[in-house]
């Protein structure tokens, strides 16, 4: 016998499911009457959304002076929250596009869900740059449209790149999501029994029949979209990192920022998907599709990206010392030991140390523990943006102008309010749209592959892998 145990691939869908039972499992959530608990969840979500609207209203009325910004810290919670939410948004596209290109079939269980999360997270992110400008009524100045000053936007500004990057990202994610939804909307149209649902789902399904000629173009489109979305998702957080890195502020201007921000974004995005998935699969009984194996794979990705973030921290620290530039050295020492050391060590603990626990298989497969770590990771990633933004500004080149930055209640309320927007949208999604990509799950079930049928009888017949007995040969 072997010293090591061979671990075969687990089945993607657990339980004894056929196509019809998968359809029923997923569409029932949308077609049955609204459960009471959904309203109960909607209540706090809407309350927070209201809070967001009030905060924004007051901000527009009074101006950005209600935030805790000071001199020298001119960038505060608004950009931290923006980067945090955009980062979270990256997991959806990663799962739907990059894992698709890598032919990782397990993505089908979570891609719909993660894409929805992406879109809502980007919406939350988009709130901040829009409202932070002070005079929100001239926000159209950021677009290349004629304005009263006869000037055009500055195409050399990373903040303008952001405008293009984030709006492209939102548009493409939305299109990608919608393309994925069309066949499932057709399923809902055909399953619905009442007139309103039939018409509503029918309209958005665009008359999809499941024709193979249509699938043929559809698959091509999906492949191309995945190919486009993959560099797009990298570019978006890269450009977000340029907001900082093209400057010459110590601690911001460092060349590793682009890949490091992207890794951090995937890291926090996966954590957010896990947080939501663990709750949703329990409430909606989707454990057969969103299995513990999925959770384990995602935990591994969290561990890998967390380690990449740790690698970047280390590189930054080392090169800050190696550069011999006094300001670079000083800012990194101040991060670890200065007025914001508490934030720095929270960040270090949450982002670098905590994901390392996933080296242990037991912990990667523990639902409760994963849920806990997924939240810890997102706290850590918030603090990472806090550390980057605030420490570099509050203790910049000129010690005489150093100042400690603290947020005001309005900073906090606006941030908390974005959760209202996020969860309101998410609850609407869970209620009205299929949370699992039905067609794609069927595609990766063994029954979906004609190769798993007998050539003669055309009956389903799954080839079972046999583990051979090791030969006793001296290697």
């Amino acid at each position: 016998m072997s010293k090591y145990e061979y671990i075969p691939e687990p089945a993607l869908v657990k339980g004894n499911h056929d196509f019809a039972s998968i359809t029923k499992l997923v569409t029932d959530v949308n077609l049955r009457p609204t459960p009471k608990n959904w309203y109960l969840a909607m209540l706090p979500a809407n309350a927070l959304l209201g809070l967001l609207l009030v905060s924004i209203g007051y901000l527009i009325w009074e101006g950005t002076g209600i935030w805790g910004l000071n001199n020298p810290v001119g960038w505060g919670w608004a950009i931290i929250n923006f980067v945090w939410w955009v980062g979270i948004g990256h997991a959806g596209t990663l799962i739907s596009a990059i894992l698709f290109l890598f032919r990782q079939d397990w993505r089908t269980a979570i891609n719909r869900f993660a894409e929805a999360m992406t879109i809502f997270a980007v919406m939350c992110a988009g709130v901040f740059p829009a409202i932070h400008v002070g005079r929100i009524w001239v926000i159209y100045w950021v677009f290349p449209v004629p304005n009263q000053m006869a000037m055009w936007p500055n195409f050399n500004s990373p903040l303008l790149w952001d405008v293009f990057a984030v709006s492209t990202y939102f548009t493409v994610s939305l299109l990608f999501w919608y393309v994925g939804l069309v066949p499932d909307l057709a399923t809902l149209r055909d399953k619905a029994t009442d007139k309103i649902r039939k018409v509503a789902y029918g309209l958005f399904a665009l008359g999809w029949t499941g024709s193979s000629r249509a699938w043929w173009n559809y698959e091509k489109a999906y492949m191309i979209l995945a190919g486009l979305a993959t560099p797009l998702v990298l570019s978006v957080h890269t450009i977000v990192s340029f907001d900082f890195a093209v400057s010459m502020i110590p601690g911001w201007h460092t060349t590793i920022f682009p890949p490091y921000f992207v890794a951090g974004a995937i890291f926090s995005g996966f954590a957010m998907v896990l947080t939501l998935m663990i709750v949703a699969r329990k409430i909606y009984g989707m454990k057969d599709i969103m299995t513990d194996d999925h959770m384990e794979k995602m935990n591994i990705i969290i561990m890998v990206t967390g380690s990449m973030v740790g690698f970047a921290y280390m590189m930054e620290f080392f090169i800050a010392w190696y550069s011999g530039v006094e300001y670079e050295k000083a800012i990194f020492m101040l991060r670890a030991t200065g007025p914001y050391a508490w934030a720095y060590w929270i960040m270090m603990f949450c982002n670098v140390i905590s994901p390392q626990v996933f080296w242990f298989k037991k912990l990667r497969r523990s639902v409760g523990f994963t849920f806990f770590i997924s939240i810890v990771v997102n706290i850590g990633m918030w603090f990472e943006r806090f550390v980057i933004t605030v420490t570099s500004l509050s203790t910049d080149y000129l010690p005489s102008s150093w100042d400690y930055y603290s947020p005001t209640a309005w900073d906090v309320l606006t941030y908390v309010g974005t959760f209202g927007l996020f969860f309101t949208m998410f609850l609407l999604f869970l209620r009205f749209l299929p949370m699992i990509a039905i067609a794609e799950v069927k595609l990766v079930m063994p029954q979906g592959d004609p190769h798993n049928y007998d050539d003669e009888t055309q009956e389903y017949h799954l080839h079972v892998e046999e583990v051979p007995q090791p030969k006793a040969v001296k290697a």
């Binding site: 890269t238 060349t255 690698f311 970047a312 190696y322 017949h461 030969k471 006793a472």
Partner: protein, 404 residues
């Protein structure tokens, strides 16, 4: 479909092949000629040798990385070609000896930080910036680091090769678990050691310059050229009538797709590094690019943009082109040449500031080290089957078919 795919090719690299001997001769002649170079023009020889050394070592390192990723992701796509990088990796332990000339000549090659007067405040040579880096940039620590790097690389490459051969001989699928157990902790170790090695070998040639991205950049250039080398290796074997039916269109397509993906990744990393330094325009960083965009060096710089990114990108954009042999061979050769030129462009401006100044030693050290590198490869490749037989994923890999 219960019938197993059958392999019709012979899986043994012919024992009587002349290839290893030819390579050994090329290598020996090249190294001998380089030795003459060392005797006549030491500094030039060391630079030339370093460029070629980094070129081939990068391929070996990328090989091990690819094997580790393949194991850790339980992939099936590359099983038929996996023995090639495994063999490159298995040789790294011996390849480390090729670093000795650099160690021997390091006070010449790295004189910008090994010269003791740089650290002496009373000397006219005193360099305020370099002096601050003394605790990292000093000869003993440099040597210790190299020992650590090669110990990690040699050990992991050897272990992964050995495990794969053992799996082939015994058919014990449990070994796949062992392979993952080796790979998982080795990946972060590789990440760190490759980054610091790139700092040591290339970045410290100009001890004033620094870039946090440099390790990732070195990883990206090495990996892109690794796929090109893989493609050329497969075509070379097939041109000798080997593995013609085993490595099919779909496997070549996959290699082409990887080359395409890493072309984009390379462009992303190289461009990001350039843009950030160009945009901020800080004197301590921007000079490095300034020197490399001046004189005839700028032809290599623009050549990299055109032939290392634009040409492969546009050529391989179409799905059909990713498995067309003539196209792939052409692109792969261009990428390999550009990879050499890129390392040359990173290192050489320190020797010849105002423009390209090719030396015959560039050629002899390239063929010398290359001959030895590939001689070692084929020697090891002969010892076992050319594909990892009995691998649990081998059937799935052979069964794959290309579809539009």
């Amino acid at each position: 479909m219960s019938h197993k795919p059958t392999i019709t090719d012979s899986l043994q690299f012919p024992a009587d092949s002349k290839i290893p001997r030819v390579l050994l001769i090329v290598g020996a002649v090249g190294l001998l000629a380089t030795a003459i170079g060392f005797a006549t023009d030491l500094e030039q020889s060391l630079y030339s040798y370093l460029v070629s050394f980094v070129f081939f070592t990068g391929i070996g390192l990328a090989s091990v990385f690819m094997v580790m990723f393949h194991h850790i992701t339980k992939s099936k796509w590359g099983v038929v070609v996996r023995r090639i990088p495994e063999t490159f990796g298995g040789n790294l332990k011996w390849w480390s000896l090729a670093f000795l000339p650099i160690l021997g000549g390091m006070t010449v090659l790295y004189h910008h930080w090994t010269d003791p007067t740089l650290f002496d405040p009373s000397s006219a040579n005193f360099d305020y910036i370099v002096a601050k880096k003394e605790s990292y940039l000093n000869v003993p620590f440099f040597i210790i680091r190299q020992v650590i790097y090669f110990a990690i690389w040699g050990y992991v490459g050897h272990k992964l090769y050995k495990a794969s051969v053992e799996l082939e001989k015994t058919g014990d699928w449990g070994i796949t678990t062992l392979m993952r157990k080796i790979s998982a902790p080795a990946i972060p170790l590789f990440g760190l050691s490759i980054a610091f090695a790139s700092f040591d070998w290339l970045m410290s040639l100009d001890p004033h310059w620094f870039s946090t991205m440099f390790g990732v950049y070195f990883f990206a250039i090495s990996f892109q050229s690794f796929w090109a080398i893989m493609i050329l290796m497969v075509f070379f074997l097939q041109s000798r009538g080997l593995l013609k039916n085993t490595i099919g269109q779909v496997h070549i397509y996959d290699l082409g797709a990887w080359l395409f993906a890493f072309t984009v990744f390379y462009a992303y990393i190289a461009f990001s590094q350039f843009l950030l330094i160009y945009y901020a325009n800080l004197p301590e960083e921007t000079l490095w690019f300034y020197e490399r965009l001046e004189g005839s060096w700028k032809y290599i710089a623009y050549g990299l943009l055109l032939f290392r990114f634009v040409l492969p990108f546009l050529t391989l954009l179409n799905r059909e082109q990713k498995h067309r042999k003539n196209v792939l061979r052409f692109v792969a050769i261009v990428v390999v040449i550009m990879h050499y030129l890129e390392i040359y462009w990173i290192a050489m401006p320190m020797l010849s500031e105002h423009g390209i100044n090719f030396s015959w030693i560039d050629l002899t050290s390239f063929f010398g080290l290359g001959g030895i590198f590939f001689w070692m490869f084929f020697k090891k490749f002969q010892q076992n089957s050319m594909i990892p037989e009995n691998d649990p994923k081998l059937d799935a890999c052979l069964e794959k078919t290309y579809h539009q």
